[in-house]
Amino acid sequence: MSEKEMPLWEVFIRPRNGLAHKHAGSVHAWDAEMALQAARDVYTRRGEGTSIWVVRSAQIVASDPDAAEELFDPTADKIYRHPTFYKIPKEVGHM
């Protein structure tokens, strides 16, 4: 079983309840269960996680880096979309 043929999986870890799963890295594994175990062994050794997602890297649809200008540049001059113009009442505390 050569490593070249072994599928790649992307690993997402949720550090605490209430937080979102965040991309941590990737692992090689033949199937979902072994990918989950590999992710546990590689990425949660220091208490990083309370939940793991793994997904086949091939299943991720990514934007084309060459299309970055048309996708992302048009937002550069629309600073009014940032919520910094709102006054937050003190009672709300940290958002």
């Binding site: 079983m1 072994m6 692992v27 090689h28 594994a29 175990q37 590999a38 062994d41 590689v42 050794r45």
Partner: protein, 259 residues
Amino acid sequence: MVFARPPADRNEALRLALLELADDHLVLSQRLGEWCGHAPTLEEDLALTNLALDLLGTARTLYATVAEREGKGRSEDDLAMLRVEREYRNLLLVERPNGDFAHTIARQLFFAAFMRPFWERALASKDEVVQGVAGKALKEMRYHVRHAGEWTIRLGDGTEESHRRMQGAIEALRPYLDELFVSSEAAQAAEEEGVLPVRADIRPEWEETVSDVFARAGLTMPEWPHPRLGGREGFHGEELGHLLAELQYLQRAYPGAQW
């Protein structure tokens, strides 16, 4: 020559029962650690050393407890690093060489399938150190069974070659399995005191765990009428000496070295 001798009194018996367990964990930990940098994949390299560190943690607590209760001024390191082969009381199973990956996985499954129900019962131990160790080790052993079990299924039910190797590993380790269920004089004392679970009682659960995995893996357990025993009395295979030579080298060459 120094031999692992039977306990002189009840207190020593209770200590030796913990020492046997500590030796099982340290020796298997060292074996798994031998894979560090050599496992088939980076992922498995980390997985095997994670398992090794779980076992080492358990061994350390047990050694420290034995050393303290003994009251002779020895430390956990003295017990681990300065006893010779004949004084080690570990099961023969855990000292078996790593062999190929199938051997390592089979050995891990056999050991963890025993220790999981062992610690589960030990949660009710009358010894609070044993109780404490059980709470932590039980979770670890559940993962060890899962990890080794899933690999066993994939190798047994994989290619012709992986099946052949997995079945071969089982046959090679089969003679050493009955020793898991035998209690030494020391262990019997601990069992009578309610400190440790009765090893023989664990057999049905162990067999169920292993046969579930084997059924899914298409593997078979051979009959073996001649169990290999003797680890608890210090009668080990040649391989343990080599393992200890590597484990103890630094403390032997530089006594008292710390870092």
